[in-house]
Symmetry: C2
Subunit: 320 residues, 2 copies
């Protein structure tokens, strides 16, 4: 078994070696660009981790991991168009660099490239691999659709928000785990448990993102604390406060205040009054508990599960 | 064996019965909309036709046919965004009706839906089906990229143009034929011959499109004759003329002339002077001959090939 860092290195080494056609250059250059922008490679590492619970052979798993990473980057390219985002990991987004049309089309080809990676798995697992991947991909698209729709709506419930982050973020972590398990030869029951583990970790991960955006350590956070508050983003903290606060406080959350520091301070004070950080943390813990229960039920020796416990710890301790 | 019309009816009946999720409604409604806008359903019919050369069982073939039709409509949704097209088959395009972001995302899900159809084929043919589909999808994206790039270029050669229409239009017809053959149980050699048939018919089909845009019967043509001339589109006729004509004539082709009727007349006269219609027809015949040779080599009784000959005849006789 490898450590998480070793698995990350396997991915980081493999990505620049993926061969794309040379022509048309403007179709494939954006793919090389986005795939090599870096990142923690969390999703493909989760594929390999899940496989290693059941098998020492990572050859097939690596193809699935690259499929997942390619798919994830495809969603980033298209999401960045939809969000009109100029930067991704500190670099120009694909549509900023190559134009929107080119970014749409390069994204489309990335979806094909994902499927090409997947089609390399052994025929004995090909069908469940495809079914899991397609369900995952569909969920991620549904999540992005809900996220876009929520921006235009004023009546988003907390249940709807959790469902959105489940689809947009968590099903891909669940799918990565399940796919890794399948190619590792896991039973259907174990593969489903790993799906549950990944999905619930994913929801917790996103809730922690919401918390860190307000309460993260500014020195380690890497970007402006309170960004979500300034943009009136409908995070868990925002929506929970809407359900608890008084109308004048709600107005502070929803209004655009010119002084950004003042806005962040005012909203944070309201959050504190209603103990929103604690409520969000308790919600996050709920999903981590479900994840841990799924892990517990896995029919493998406890010592093999340790890296998954470490993963949860690392997520909990991160400051972004 | 069914007639082409019967096969078309199988497709027309099957499309409204495809079940998409109900939510998010704005993600799936555009898919139902574009899939039910009509059209000749040429590509899925070709899948079924190819299968029937080898098998009477059309169940698997229908899934592949629906995958091909869904993929084709996905490319229409994204291409219409890139081309800024307001209308498709006389109705509003998806991005006009639902907005660009929604159209990008619904298109993305259509790609997943295509793969879901494909994954239903028997495990014994799943791998070659995926490989053929992925190669086809990749080619179509490459063709669209070249098409976009050619609009900005002034040095497109005829060879490049043929390669572009081969990728953008013809590989999908070849892929449809090959996929139908594979699920019908054809040998690899026969599947490849049907690919060649479909691809070369596809190139001929597109060349005839170019010819009909100028020389089609205005009463049967359904849209303005000379549309390509008015928009200075780099068709085979246009590019061939650039290679033969004098500089003052080339200027007429390339310049925007306010009087559209005058422009069409002037350019048509230049085309006539250089016998461009005959040259284009001869080029088209070249590809039809290759298609017929591939058909000839197929290891099936001659009487089974008759519908394919009829298909070629119908294409030759169409006025759009």
């Amino acid at each position: 078994m490898h450590t998480t860092l070793q698995l990350q290195k396997i991915i980081i080494d493999a990505i620049p070696k993926i061969v794309y056609p040379q022509h048309p250059a403007n179709l494939y250059e954006p793919i090389r660009y986005i795939m090599n922008l870096g990142g923690k490679r969390l999703r493909p590492v989760m594929v390999l981790m899940a496989t290693e619970l059941f098998s020492d052979d990572l050859n097939q798993s690596l193809e699935v991991a690259l499929a997942i990473e390619t798919f994830h980057n495809f969603t980033l390219v298209h999401d960045d168009i939809m969000d009109n985002a100029p930067l991704r990991r500190g670099q120009k987004t694909v549509h900023e660099k190559w134009g929107v049309n080119n970014a749409i089309l390069s994204g489309d080809v990335m979806m094909v490239e994902s499927n090409k990676h997947l089609s390399k798995v052994d025929i004995s697992v090909l069908k469940p691999v495809l079914d899991t991947f397609n369900a995952t991909a569909q969920g991620v698209c549904e999540g992005q659709q809900l996220d876009m729709e929520f921006e235009q709506r004023n009546d988003v419930s907390i249940e709807e928000y959790i469902e959105m982050i489940r689809l947009k973020t968590a099903v891909l972590l669940g799918g990565a785990m399940k796919l890794g398990a399948i190619v590792g030869g896991a039973s259907a029951a174990d593969a489903d448990l790993l799906y549950q583990f990944g999905e619930n970790v994913g929801v917790a991960f996103q809730l922690q993102d919401d918390i860190l955006d307000v309460y993260g350590n500014p020195e380690k956070f890497g970007k402006q604390v309170g960004g979500d508050i300034i943009s009136n983003k409908k995070t868990y903290l925002h929506l929970k406060t809407l359900a608890l606060a008084q109308s004048d406080e709600i107005a502070v959350l929803k209004n655009d205040i010119e002084n950004q520091v003042e806005k962040v301070n005012q909203v944070t004070n309201i959050y504190n009054k209603y103990q929103i950080k604690e409520l969000a943390t308790s919600e996050m813990d709920k999903y981590l508990t479900i994840a841990q229960q799924a892990l517990q039920k896995l029919s493998i020796p406890d010592e093999k599960k340790i890296q998954f416990r470490i993963l949860i710890q690392e997520i909990l301790e991160r400051e972004r």
